[in-house]
Symmetry: none
Subunit: 204 residues, 4 copies
Amino acid sequence: MVSKPAPDATRRSEKSRRAIYAAALALVGEVGYPKTTVEAIAARAGVGKQTIYRWWSSKADVLLEAFLDLAEQAARAAGHAPDAIPDTGDLAADLKAVLRATVDELVDPRFEVPSRALAAEGVVNEQLGREFVAKLLEPQLQLYVARLRSAQDTGQVRADVDPRIALELFVSPLAQRWLQRTGPISYDYTDTLVDYALYGIAPR
Amino acid sequence: MVSKPAPDATRRSEKSRRAIYAAALALVGEVGYPKTTVEAIAARAGVGKQTIYRWWSSKADVLLEAFLDLAEQAARAAGHAPDAIPDTGDLAADLKAVLRATVDELVDPRFEVPSRALAAEGVVNEQLGREFVAKLLEPQLQLYVARLRSAQDTGQVRADVDPRIALELFVSPLAQRWLQRTGPISYDYTDTLVDYALYGIAPR
Amino acid sequence: MVSKPAPDATRRSEKSRRAIYAAALALVGEVGYPKTTVEAIAARAGVGKQTIYRWWSSKADVLLEAFLDLAEQAARAAGHAPDAIPDTGDLAADLKAVLRATVDELVDPRFEVPSRALAAEGVVNEQLGREFVAKLLEPQLQLYVARLRSAQDTGQVRADVDPRIALELFVSPLAQRWLQRTGPISYDYTDTLVDYALYGIAPR
Amino acid sequence: MVSKPAPDATRRSEKSRRAIYAAALALVGEVGYPKTTVEAIAARAGVGKQTIYRWWSSKADVLLEAFLDLAEQAARAAGHAPDAIPDTGDLAADLKAVLRATVDELVDPRFEVPSRALAAEGVVNEQLGREFVAKLLEPQLQLYVARLRSAQDTGQVRADVDPRIALELFVSPLAQRWLQRTGPISYDYTDTLVDYALYGIAPR
DNA sequence: CGTTAAGCGAGACGGTACGTCCTGTCTTCTA
DNA sequence: TAGAAGACAGGACGTACCGTCTCGCTTAACG
């Protein structure tokens, strides 16, 4: 089987790449993911369609990279230490603070529309879903893992607890409410999640 | 504003409706949601396209109703008491049992493809998403609320706990792992979730 | 082979028939023949579609009968002696007078649109074309045959001339200019046709 | 007013154009004009529908150009001197010969179906009708004008006769009999027309 | 320093599906 | 039991995009 020769990445047009990212994010924000078409991205970016198909395999792929790029830029802008979880020694307070910041971000429309679009596509498109998780979600979750490990060292979390599972007690409920709109999102809500997760719902 | 005259529902063809449901579910199972087209549903159901557009507004809408119908039939077949949560007095055991059953269901391809498709569409399409939650998800969640209330009566759960939030501690993590493939799903995993949720991750 | 039982014409609704004729003529006049649909005729006439399909075989058929009815009414209104050709003894004058009247009629939009539509359909649809000719065109032409026969009796036309062919010398050019727009139509033009036809174009 | 940008004609696919002409003519011949659909032409030509709509505005338009192309090819095949009218000095004989050839052509089904279809469409669709006349009919008629002018020079036709009108005396009757089926077509018939037209129907 | 081979903007192409419209049949309810 | 109403299977319409494919044009890197 003959595969088409891979394009020469060294000659790739940086200008086009940036224009495509910008056009893709703008269009998804304006008309939504399903109505965003490759043709429209190309037209808006002032780019031939082939230039898109040469470097990406699909609309979802373009958007994923555009979003990764956006996240990276935002991180860089925030001073190179992106979303590290504070470690004041008070686990409950630290988690509540981070979750409140996450609530704010989830509501920011600059991020909401494209990330919702990517999440939706990832639900149905396994390959993209896995990439989305690996490149965006999991790195974030690992920050919680690190913070929980630190808490285990100070005795605030039991040593036999699996941090990768434990973090889902407060992260997943928030994620589901946002993704599936199963309920409202607020500081109170995330604070409550942290309390329940730390101390359980059974009588102490 | 002029709206097209609503069709007369009393004259609707029951046979066509059933054929459309069957065709839609079959196609989504076979080729996936994005490649399922209204045209193909109509052809497979032996129905004119207009008959679909007369009663539904979109492919997603057809599939939602088809899936609701499927769930209802399944419930009826299961003897009119669909997915009630057992109440043996042992909350932890009851929850673990139900979650293990849920794990089995989530892996059953008969349900997996269409519900994944609907969930994905619901993420991006608010109107459909809300209907999906209201008609399918929330009723299920209310069963947990009821079981947790009963546990509060017997003192197995603290009285000041909000059951609607509490249930998310073990339901949402499972949901997210399934939807977004953020991790593997197993009986061990759900058992662990229940333990963590009941007793917290902090030292007791 | 079983044919569907012919409907009972005695119970036919006169009111519906008239309403259908009126609606068909009005629509053809307003939106043209190709955009006139059976559905629109039925809606405009306040009639079920089946009532049209019960009594006519096609849109063309409806329009043909509607037009015949219109012509008949017009004739009746004109005093029962519709379009007889005058016989003053002066053949040239008589023909010129009739052709001038025909010119006026061809330009009257009340007749123009539907008759143009019927003529067009007749070109392509042999069955309808023959009916159109037999019921509308040929009766008119026979009036010319009669007048030319009378002229043969008075010696104004040679006895060896075939009147059915002779009339085409002045009728067909006018018909073609109107139908196919191969040239302008005027009194001068028809007068000239009569002169050429009577005396030929060769030197006398 | 915004108009869609005109397509770039220099990049047009010659192969597709030819295939579309062939498919259109074949289909019209096989199933008749009304049952010929753009979809079927595209399928038969192995072409996307858009390729048809990009270059033509309607089915009628396609067929008109296909027919013009056919006529042109036929003319070229016939040795570049297509349908010139002979000039032997004997006007009557020349006209009879040409009309006999026309009779043969009108009966040839290769030409009959498409030209009948075009003529019909032209009756009802003014824009197309005018183009049909200008590009196909009138050029043919001008050949008669030329021949009649030559006859005026030799004194076989009176100098005061308008040749453009005179030719209709024998051409239009034939056209009408063919188009509207108002009568049979034969060599005898066309011979008679020429005689009547030249010498008139009045006694000499 | 001209050649050459890639990437590029542009957009025509063969296709697929869209959502609308109409056909001619069939069914239900009304007068 | 004819007729008004309109749902139905079917199928064409004209549009929008898909992903592929040429076109010239620009722009490096190489010979």
